[in-house]
Symmetry: C2
Subunit: 262 residues, 2 copies
């Protein structure tokens, strides 16, 4: 793989239970030339079992970044794929590793990207999934589709290597918004929808999932996020002005009523 | 994967050191719908570590066939791929998993095939390699190419599944010779070459490797092996007749010499 590309690719393991899997994942990464490992709230790390399973990949463990939140691990990332073993009801686009890896490479040619893996037993939460622009599902037996965590990392990293061998650079999108900008926008959007009273008739969680999906497909640029947030700000201000004017008018009506009363 | 195909595919692990790897390999197999595991002289099996790593694939461990030789594990097999991490000096054809798996499927449509994996530290011996018709090398980082055994099984089984999804049956070769017929032929050939005095000027081990490579490419049918062994038998008989005649002539010469002497 192009060293430049590998330098822009993060493997993010969220809430890993068994330290041996962290070590085995590090080894799987190293066999395919990947080196940036991020761990979100691992149950045990560092740990002798992780070291044992890493074999010769102890440098990756030593340089692993331990984070307290998924957002911290995705700081500055412009494109995130998330592994899923099952197809969800509300889902972002789902691709196979073979379909997904050329897209990952294309993004990684200029800016940080992430491959996100959930916990051993239950995978990623819906909130974590919502951080991804693309879900990846490894084709597996319908009777027993649960790959070991490190085995899934190995398959993904292997597909990335094969894709890199066949990869012809194309111009990446211009200045896609980074993870924290997208999250800032979603928070602003949600707050705004509360303020304007939109959620009185809608389930906020499901609706935000649908909106995340929409914007994951759109892949907004930084400039576009600024525009969207500008619109949100104005919406709130407009709403605030309306409220103020309404309160003033009510006050005025009450005063008049008071005048008429006496 | 077509159940019929999976039924004809064996994963053969030779001289595995760590029982955890056997369990993890069983799990990797099961995620991709494979079920026939053969173990050649495993250091520890059965073993609680194997059970732990198998997770839900304990049925594969329970049905695993433990063998005392590679030839026993390859009994009735008509096509064998062997994993290699490095490219050898005398080598059979080497392909990537992606190139190899359609060939494996094609063979598996009618008769047993095997995917052979060596021991953790040193891989397969040259003698074991010689049993294969095809070597498979997983593309990996030149600095650190050593995949964990179960991770290699996972990548191969995954590629097999993807290949199966894109597979269009073609007529397999008619009645390819089974492993034991090939080995019978090689033993016969080597014995014959000794008898006719061919090895006085050649290194027997290297020469037999070259001949194995040649016949691996040829993929002989059962009938052709019969013909070849017929030729070997006649060669030996011819040689034996020559020897007898030579001895008789020598006897005759000596007798004549004896006559002339007195």
């Amino acid at each position: 793989m192009q060293p430049l590309y590998a330098g822009n690719i993060r493997v993010v393991l969220s809430h890993t239970t068994h330290p041996g899997n962290i070590g085995a994942a590090a080894r799987a990464m190293k066999t395919m030339g990947l080196r940036h490992l991020y761990l979100v709230n691992p149950r045990h790390f560092p740990d002798p079992q992780a070291d044992a399973m890493a074999a010769g990949a102890d440098d990756i463990l030593r340089n692993a970044v331990v984070c307290t939140s998924i957002d911290q691990a995705l700081q500055d990332v412009v494109f995130t794929t998330a592994m899923t073993a099952r197809l969800r009801d509300i889902s972002i686009e789902v691709k196979t590793p073979r379909e997904a890896m050329p897209l990952v490479l294309q993004q990684a040619s200029a800016q940080p990207v992430a491959m996100l893996f959930g916990t051993e037993m239950s995978g990623l939460s819906n909130a974590e999934m919502g951080r991804a622009q693309l879900l990846v599902n490894i084709p597996a037996s319908p009777e027993f589709s649960s790959l070991n965590l490190a085995a899934a990392v190995q398959v993904m990293a292997y597909e990335l290597t094969v894709a890199a061998q066949n990869y012809h650079p194309v111009a990446p999108e211009s200045r896609p918004a980074a993870h924290q900008q997208m999250e800032g926008f979603f928070a602003h959007l949600e707050k705004t929808l509360y303020e304007i009273g939109f959620f009185t008739t809608q389930n906020p969680v499901r609706l935000m999932q649908r909106l995340r999906r929409l914007f994951a497909r759109a892949r907004p640029e930084q400039e576009e996020i600024n525009i969207l947030r500008g619109i949100l700000s104005v919406t709130t201000e407009y709403n605030a002005r309306l409220k103020t004017r309404y309160q003033q008018e009510q006050q005025h009506v009450r005063e008049q009523q008071d005048v008429q009363k006496y």
